[in-house]
């Protein structure tokens, strides 16, 4: 492991230890801890999606919040009890609708913008994301406008066993440190289900991305990112490849939105605020553009800033309010990362090397016999075999 990897592992180890202590002593509620974990995982999922567009494809996409919102609203409109259109469907249909609409919108946004040069792409995607946000806010008859949609059921609602698991599981009381018991009640089991769902989403996404990025398709994409003219000279339809990775990334972002709808049980147009887009950008830049594990790290850091700055309001002696402090930290983080480590904390290293190239590590072995003798035995072998040339 490199020095950075070691350092990061040490820091992560400390953080995990601190959280474990907080949990065990009851300072941090168990269900709130799981909620935070779910939020961090959601940002990690969003970062994986953006990474697929920016890290692997070199596409500057400032419409992350829009696709997140499409996933969230798709799930909400399909499943909420008081949804203006549809409503009451099984959450699986919400998932499907969210992903399909995200893919369609991604194609619609991609067609005019993916041929543009990088800074125009940034401005255009930001503008189109705002159009989507304005649409969701203004069409009150379809989306409930600024009031948002409440009453979204949990993802496992209506499932045979998992649907009622939070209620049927017995409340446990765990006593690790005598005197401060940890209660694991219905809320805890509900959040545990949410986290399991998130881990399933994360695992599936990670698997799909890894397979895609280590395939010939991924190789072409990396070439496009490094030097698009070269890829075109080699005869690749760069627009098609860029569109494919754009749609893939957008669907992953919508997946995160679907999870958010069933975690938070409430969506409103404020969730599509551009600040969400920039949170995810900070996560990707900080973690390391092009690196999936960097995206995970970035997601956790962003949630730490987001939720940590909320607690600032509890300390009355601290003169700064939570919301501008969050903005300041994010801004400083962007500037500092771009200044001192533009490649991110965990830039892709071993991820870039093809697995087959590092199989059988170590120096090449000395041959046991000379080359001539080997060649002779090879030819003898070949002549003895089929001669169908």
């Amino acid at each position: 492991m490199t020095t950075t990897e070691t350092a990061v592992s040490v820091v992560v180890g400390f953080v995990v230890l601190a959280l474990f202590l907080a949990l065990v002593t009851g300072a941090l509620g168990a269900s709130y801890f799981l909620f935070l974990f779910g939020l961090a995982g959601m940002y990690a999922l969003l970062s994986l999606g953006l990474n697929s567009q920016w890290g692997f494809g070199g596409l500057i996409n400032f419409s992350v919040a829009a696709f997140f919102g499409i996933g969230a609203y798709g799930a909400a409109l399909m499943t909420a009890g008081n949804s203006p259109i549809a409503g009451g469907f099984n959450p699986i249909f919400g998932l499907i609708v969210g992903l399909v609409v995200a893919a369609l919108v991604a194609v619609a946004i991609g067609i005019p913008t993916l041929r543009l040069r990088a800074d125009y792409l940034a401005i255009a995607t930001l503008g189109l994301a705002e159009v989507i946000r304005l649409f969701l806010r203004n069409e009150r008859q379809w989306t409930n406008g600024s009031a948002g949609i409440r009453g979204i059921p949990s993802f496992f609602e209506g499932w045979p066993v998992l649907g009622t698991l939070p209620q049927t599981m017995p409340s446990l009381e765990v006593v690790i440190v005598p005197g401060s018991p940890i209660l694991l009640g219905t809320q805890f089991w509900r959040q545990l289900l949410n986290v399991s769902l998130l881990l399933a989403f994360l695992g599936a996404t990670f698997f799909v991305l890894r397979r895609a990025q280590q395939s010939p398709w991924g190789r072409v994409l990396r070439t496009i990112r490094s030097d698009e003219d070269l890829a075109k000279a080699l005869g690749k339809n760069t627009f098609a490849f860029k569109m494919q990775t754009f749609v893939l990334g957008s669907m992953i972002m919508a997946l995160a939105g679907v999870f958010y709808a069933h975690l938070n049980l409430f969506v409103n147009p404020g969730d599509l605020d551009p600040i969400t887009t920039f949170y995810v950008w900070v996560a990707v830049i900080l973690g390391g553009s092009g690196s999936n594990r960097g995206a995970l790290l970035g997601g956790f850091v962003v949630v730490a800033i987001r939720e940590g700055s909320r607690f600032v309001n509890d300390f009355a002696w601290f003169p700064i309010d939570g919301a501008p402090l969050r903005l300041l930290l994010i801004g400083l983080l962007i500037v500092l990362v771009m200044r001192y480590r533009p490649q991110g904390v965990l830039p892709p290293q071993r991820e870039l090397i093809w697995p087959s190239a590092i199989e059988g590590s170590g120096t090449p072995e000395r041959p046991t016999s000379g080359v001539r003798e080997q060649k002779g035995s090879d030819e003898a072998g070949r002549n003895g075999g089929d001669n169908d040339e």
Binding site: I60, I123, P324, R339
Partner: protein, 307 residues
């Protein structure tokens, strides 16, 4: 409201957009990247004007209903915005070695820092200048135009600043150097122009104009920490429409986009059911169409150079 009223409102709003888009276009062509902190630079100028006006006061007589002290305070706002921008260039952008996309991303961080500091200093709510609002000018009401003297002051001030910039660009040494740098930076440097100094001057002028735009936006509407960022995309639309690198294109683009945004309600009269809440969306869509059809904009050069 009659068409004339929409046009009049459009002219006032356009004046503010024009001030911001000239600055953005200058910075784009000379510093070489899309400055996403430009909107928050407007906010900086506006709040600096607020503080200065509070300290200076009215100073006696008024011009077009606006106290003289406000114009002086706007001068302070322009200066503060310029100083902040130059400081940011020296502290942040100089040390970076990341290319124009990296600078774009960094400018987003800078924008957040500006906005966070303003919000910490002034709170998240809206404020207004301590200038009593006026009734529309009676003499113009006969023509169906409902604008106040403040609006007229905004338009006149913007016109003065734009004409001043034109004189600077065409008739002064600095202006010549700026045009040369925007056209071909390497050739400019080879011919002895101190490109770094010209870059700093372009920040001074670009951010100063943005600060002025912010001050007048506060007069036109009100001040809030998000006021600049909310306007940023509209300003980008104007710059792209006019053509990056062309100041005169930015003036035209700012004017057209400003008019479009204010005249959106007229679309429903013509049969296209787009409400006023989609006014900015219309501007963004125009921007995307321009990017598709003619990415160089109305007046930009093929390589985006030239002022």
């Amino acid at each position: 409201m009659s068409v004339i009223e929409f046009v009049a409102n459009g002219v006032v709003y356009s004046s503010i957009i024009v001030l911001a888009s000239i600055g953005l276009s200058l910075i784009y062509s000379i510093a070489g990247f899309a400055n996403f902190a430009h909107g928050d630079t407007m906010t900086v100028g506006a709040y600096a004007t607020l503080v200065a006006f509070g300290l200076i006061g009215g100073l006696g007589f008024t011009i077009l209903g606006v106290p003289l002290g406000f114009f002086v305070a706007t001068g302070v706002g322009i200066a503060v915005a310029a100083i902040v921008a130059v400081g940011t260039q020296r502290i942040v952008y100089d040390a970076l070695d990341v290319g124009s996309i990296g600078l774009l991303i960094t400018s987003i961080g800078v924008a957040f820092i500006y906005r966070a500091l303003i919000q910490m200093g002034f709170g998240a709510g809206t404020v207004r200048y301590d200038i009593p609002s006026l009734r529309p000018i009676e003499s113009l009401q006969a023509y169906g135009v409902l604008i106040t003297a403040h609006d007229l002051a905004t338009v006149v001030s913007a016109a003065v600043l734009v004409i001043g910039l034109h004189l600077l660009l065409q008739h002064t040494d600095l202006g010549r150097k700026m045009r040369a740098m925007a056209d071909n930076p390497d050739l400019a440097r080879v011919s002895g122009i101190r490109t770094y100094r010209v870059k700093l001057w372009s920040w001074v002028i670009g951010a100063g104009l943005a600060g002025a735009g912010g001050a007048f936006l506060g007069l036109f509407n009100q001040l809030a920490p998000r006021m600049g960022f909310n306007l940023l995309l509209v300003v980008f639309a104007a710059v792209i429409l006019g053509g990056i690198g062309s100041v005169y294109g930015a003036v035209l683009g700012g004017f057209l986009i400003g008019m479009v945004v204010e005249m959106t309600p007229l679309l429903s009269r013509v049969g296209i059911p787009v409400g006023i809440e989609y006014a900015e969306a219309v501007a963004f869509l125009i921007m995307v169409v321009i990017l598709l059809v003619r990415p160089t904009g109305i007046a930009g050069d093929a390589d985006g150079g030239g002022v």
